[in-house]
Amino acid sequence: MDSMPIYAIRVKGRLDPRRAAWFDNLEIQPAPNGETLLYGPLVDQAALFGILVRIRDLGLKLVAVNTVEPFDA
């Protein structure tokens, strides 16, 4: 699974980490400026769009979407 792109999605507001299951098990981490970072691998673009729709449907504000280069362990 190491070929899956890793995404870092920032939204405004702090999210309950228990909501992770609702975001394809992306990690939910608090970030500076009262933001939340959704972080982790997503299978493809369709999965990414699924997450973005979830964010929209919660009325959350999307701040940024980035891909992250996975570094070798």
């Binding site: 702090r14 309950d16 299951a21 609702w22 939340t36 929209r56 449907d57 919660l58 009325g59």
Partner: protein, 894 residues
Amino acid sequence: MLTRLLTTKLHIPLPRPSLVPRPRLAARLAEGLARPVTLISAPPGSGKTTVVGEWRASESGRAYPLAWLALDEDDNDPPRWLTYVIAALETVVPGIGSAALDLFNTPVPPIPKDVLTVVLSRLEGVATPFALALDDYHVITNPAIHAAMTYFIEHLPPPMRLLILTRADPPLPLARLRVRGHLTELRSADLRFTLDEVAAFLEQAGLTLAPDDIEALEARTEGWAAGLQLAALSLQGQPEVDQFIRSFTGSDAYLVDYLAEEVLTRLPDDVQAFLLQTSVLNYLSAPLCDALTGRTDSHALLDQLTRANLFLIPMDPARRWFRYHRLFADLLRYRLAVTRPPSSAHLSQRLTQWFTASGLTSDTLRLALAGLDLAVVAQAVERSVGPGYAAEHSLLQWIEALPDAVIRADPALCLTHAWALVPVLQFQAAEARVSDAIAASDAEPQVVAEGQIVRAFIAQNTYQPRLAIERAQTALSLLGEEGLGWRSLAGLSLGMGYTLDGQLRSAIPVFEQAATWGQAAGQANIILHALRNLGLSLARSGRLREAVATYERALALTTTPSAGGYVVLVSLADIYYEWNELGRAADLLRRAADLSRQWGNWRQLAECHLSLAQILQAQGDTTPAAQYTVEAARLKEVHHLGWLSPYHDTLHIRLGDAATALRWAAAPECHIRAADPPEAGRALQQLMYARALLAQGRALEAAPFLSRIRGLAETDGRLDHVIAALLLEALAYHQVDETAPAVECLQQALTLAAPQGYVRLFVDQGLPMTDLLDMVKSNAASLREYRAHLRRLLPDGAEGTVTAGLGEATTTGLAGQTPPPLMVPLVEPLSERELEILFLVAEGASNRDIADRLVLALGTVKTHIHHIYGKLGVESRTQAIAQARARGLLDPSR
């Protein structure tokens, strides 16, 4: 297949009593209705629906006829979407949809655009303004529906307004609408509560707060309606208001999580449990909630929740149905998933019973997907389909949303999946599912039989008639006596296999049997198909009278004019035409043409026109005949119909002059050669080719070819082709002055044709047939009479009135008619951006102006204009504008 309508989707949301009035928004909306389209686009909980509700409560809004449709994910199925749109419109324009809804009585779902054309034509007559509101448009993801909506918007009749409520801007031509001033927009900034409104809202909720606190709340919620409402709920009964506001406004937490926690934890435990349990439902009613929770007081509880403003929205004036505000439902579901394991199988069982009794199958599925027992879904899906289930897009989606392992483990679900895959031509996947079903059931005979029926349909769709026959026979041998629905379906597929293989004699009793079984099982769709195919087989084998009786039986079955009815009308007209009962044939065809026009089925309409042209030509009315032919060609062109039925494609050629047929025969697409072996599936084309050979005087090539075609037709029992081949053979021998064999062939044809009274097969040959008939010396008295009858209908000597299908006489007639110039459709349509630019070009804007207006680089504008020229086939601005006008591209109503 029509889904049962959920009328709750059509109820206009009721204005809620404890709402702070926001007249500025209602006024914006009222003004906005001067424009064709209004878009309310904002995140959930912004109060989109509320704005409409409030406008409805105002004086101007109350009188405005408004049709409402709350969309959900299931509406991505175009037939279902259309059905609901029509049902919604029906609430303001009664009677609008009846014709359009008839389109759905077919095994094949109609094309959305065709249905909308019918709807639009009905709306033309409406004089008073009215609006259609589509709520939650963001759930629509099917491009076919966006395309249909675009078409709808482009053809919106003047008094009609469209209101779109959505969380995301839809992929509709918004830019074009904006440029033309046809769009009103209410966006999140507009819906945001102003400071004054926040103050009024809190006051309304019975909260007296200091100006600083109000400001802090406004800032924290950003004027978001749902956030404010939750905040007000949390504040009610809060002992330390100041402290609450401080901690709330000081927190970064997602405010729904933060506030809902506050609101929920203060509710009694049983109410909390009720909320969580019922959150899985999309639509709630008291009996349904009772069934789900095991309580008996859901009615009172729902009432209490509504009054407490707990995001429970009544959906009908009688308050029988409710739904949670989407945002709140979402929150509850998430909490349910976190705090409670999925319900017990027992509970799911009870629910399924309830749903099955109410027919809300899609909801059952969604329920299951929301975390309930998956095995329950399998049962529900199984119950919602019967034999010959026409695939429903949403059904396929639902099944495919299930984990593969769940489908694979359930034979019935595998088979349902397989059935759903056949109409979308996913044959490999369907075959695989049949194998899964058989494996999962340990090859239980019933499952194997149903699987073989699916496979028989696949074989037929891939032109493997022998395989289709074999599979259908296996199915029949495995099916028990009691499963009549399945037996009739297996019979139908067996008969169709025989037909495809040219085995007419075997097909006839099978179709008869399938119709009988279908009748016993009450499967109207299968009976209609079986009878129609039976009629066709009878007619082809020369049993015309029995065919007529069968078609009449089928017509009696179709109470409402349906697509099946169309096919029967046309088939019946063919026989009356053959009997030279032209008036009767024309009447039937006109009825069929009316139906196709009503449904916007242009292929069928074109075919009707060709058949009518044939009749008029037979009556000697060449000018109107030519008009019908031209109209058919126009329909083919305008609606991009690549082909018609083989019968009508050859008819089209026969209606032309001799040169048309020769061009057709010489064209590279025509792969027929005189040396080919006869083919049952292409007999019409092969006969046509033989005619073309005769027209070129190549009788010596035509005769042996015809003899081979006739040989196969005799083996297969296709009497119409046997007679047609014999007649052409006679003409071929006549052409080379071989009188004896010519007369011999004609004698044979007369003997075969007399008992059933074939006429047009002879008479359509025209003058050469006159000569031939004059040469025959009939012995039997009956045959003599028949011959004399035919002779009377044929032209005398050199100048005849009856135009031959393809002889010397045909070089005049249609050839003299110049068809009116046709507007060739664009090879590639203009993009939205290109249309926008074209519009500005027509207004006289320079490239620089356009670049400024649309905020584009000058180079980009030039590229666009270059593309526009290419697509319109022009070389200058003036030409482009002229072309655009001629095509109606600049029509402001677009």
